[in-house]
Amino acid sequence: MSTILLIEQVLNGLQSGIMLFLMAAGLTLIFGVMGLINLAHGSLYMVGAFAAAAVAAATGSFVLALVAALVAAAAAGAIIELVVIRRLYDRDHLDQVLATFALILIFSEGTRWVFGSFPLYLDVPAALSGPVTLPGGILYPAYRLLIIAVGLVIAAGLFALIAKTRIGIQIRAGEADREMIAALGVDISKLYTMVFALGAALAGLAGALVGAIQSVQVGMGEPVLILAFVVIVIGGIGSIKGALVGALLVGLTDTLGSVLLPIFFASFMDQSSATAVGSALATMSIYILMAGVLLFKPTGLFGKA
């Protein structure tokens, strides 16, 4: 394989990592900071994508579509929090798992009911639809650069929100002892609704941004959900930095694994079995990565013991 292709693949790995971070960002917030296992995160991602597709179809504007994704997902998040999640904070994690699993069912089929069973059309805006030339002569889709930029901005913003602001402190205090922070005069319920809505909005934004280069269809949130969990667990729960690093690691492993493993096996096997073994191993690679990381660092790369 040529060096330039290898560089390009590394870039692709990093890029896909940032994309993963974008999808995981909202989950990190809700899961890492509020301590809530929200399986319905993927559904909020889907809600964002569908809202964007519907608005883009109606108005033709990509910006409006993104706004719609944010609003729809935030609203869905706030409603979920007020109606369901709010009653589950003092419960076992398992109750949250069951409730949010139920929400997946409701959201998926609800979306199918409203939008039908066929994938929707959502495409990148014309201005960003082509490739740009990077230094070194690498052609790179402009839209993907946008995704990288948005991902990095969100990472920085979340980091500042959690680590540097008083709201961040209060949220974390609430996770440690909800009753106590309330007894000190903080309206933790309202705060949690806001955080949940924010996490949902991030999921919705990711759904719209990523949906434009993938397929907008019912069930699109499920693989994302698992991947997002993998990412934040590798990074260490509650750590934004960890989520970013975890996402990049997963992106690189996934991309380079699928490219390099078949080549690696071909060096000592015949071509067709090398392709078979290599790609089989590549599909397992991120899970092997996760298990490996957790065996050496049982609380993830940046998690607190």
């Binding site: 330039i4 896909s16 994309m19 199918r112 066929f118 994938p119 889709p141 993907r144 397929s215 599909t283």
Partner: protein, 359 residues
């Protein structure tokens, strides 16, 4: 004629979750074909695309509903789960989609009729067409699972040019940046791929944004009507092989397209066409023989005495189709992105597994 026997049909298909669009089309096409037919009684159940549910539904239809004929399954892994069990219990099975090689060869069965295609068919046709249309070097890509491997093998069976790369992706993969980079770096002139459902949508959109401009070709599954709407202009110009196209000039096809649109308010897909043909086939057999007389009914089915919307249609010795496969191209008609037929890619095509079938 006039045996007066009714046929009870159990349809197990995917009506919820990710792949529901395909199941809906098959169901609607079938219902359109048997609409008003007194001899056919239909029960439909949703398999949720889970093999074990499909097996249990088959049991239910056989044991409780006492159906005579089963049909409806979309996915080859579900078919592999249901068909052997159903035929073992003496029920007919008509496949409106999916044709795993195992059921065409050693596993063929007198009670199993495939009304769609064998997995390799579209690919063999595409390979043959490529030989004649100056396609010299191809980049092959499919998900790493049996159907994907079958499709690639099918293409390679007939294709005589050079295969530059053969790439197997994760099943359900959504990001193809790495593969697109490989395609860009490859010296192939054509990309041939099989990526059903959302995978194909994602790939095509990303490919269009990448600036790579090699020819794109594949079996029809990634370019069918239900999906084209979601890919949009990115799919224009793509060549794909299919046994049916909306614009085929064969008796009954235009009427079918029109009736389907009138009934369901959407364009029919190839799945709808297969469902429709399956319905017609069944109706033709039901008119000739009583299903309780298995031998007679089987003979009636084997005659394939109906006007297929694909034109020529008959069964080979392994009861898999002998039919023409066409090359189609994705075009825009007004606002609608759809397929246009370019002509026959392989005529009277039949599968290679029939030789292994001892029936």
């Amino acid at each position: 004629d006039g045996h007066g026997g009714k046929v009870k049909v159990g349809m197990i298909t995917t009506l919820s979750g990710g792949g529901a669009g395909l199941g809906l089309d098959v169901r609607d096409g079938f219902m359109l074909a048997v609409k008003g037919n007194e001899a056919i009684e239909l029960v439909v159940e949703d398999d949720q695309r889970k093999p074990e549910i499909a097996v249990q539904l088959a049991d239910k239809m056989i044991q409780s509903e006492k159906v005579d004929v089963l049909t409806g399954i979309i996915w080859s892994n579900l078919a592999m789960a249901v068909v052997p069990a159903a035929t073992a219990q003496g029920k007919f099975y008509l496949s409106p989609n999916a044709g795993p090689s195992a059921l065409a060869g050693k596993g063929c069965n007198p009670l199993y009729f495939n009304v769609s295609w064998q997995n390799d068919a579209f690919n063999e046709a595409a390979g043959a067409w490529s030989n004649e249309n100056g396609i010299e070097k191809v980049f092959l890509m499919a998900p790493n699972y049996p159907a994907g491997q079958d499709m690639i093998a099918g293409f390679k069976r007939t294709y005589e040019g050079t295969v530059t790369e053969e790439v197997y992706t994760k099943l359900g993969q959504t990001d193809y940046a790495a593969e697109i980079a490989q395609i860009r770096a490859s010296d192939a002139d054509t990309v041939y791929f099989f990526l059903p459902g959302g995978m194909g949508i994602s790939f095509m959109k990303q490919y269009a944004g990448s600036g790579v401009d090699k020819n794109v070709m594949g079996p029809a599954f990634s370019f069918d009507q239900g999906i084209l709407g979601a890919i949009g202009d990115a799919a224009l110009g793509v060549k794909n092989t299919s046994h049916w196209s909306k614009d085929l000039d064969v008796p009954g096809n235009a009427e079918f397209v029109e009736a389907f649109q009138a009934e369901y308010d959407r364009l029919p897909s190839l799945y709808a066409a297969q469902g429709y043909d399956t319905g017609l086939l069944l109706a033709s057999a039901a008119a000739k023989a009583d299903v309780k007389d298995a031998d007679a009914f089987r003979a009636a089915l084997a005659e394939a005495d109906f006007q297929s919307v694909r034109g020529k249609f008959s069964f080979g010795a392994n009861q898999h189709p002998v039919q023409d496969i066409y090359m189609r191209e994705v075009v825009k008609e007004g606002d609608v992105v759809t397929n246009k037929s370019l002509g026959v890619a392989a005529s009277d095509h039949t599968d290679v597994y029939g030789a292994e079938c001892s029936m």
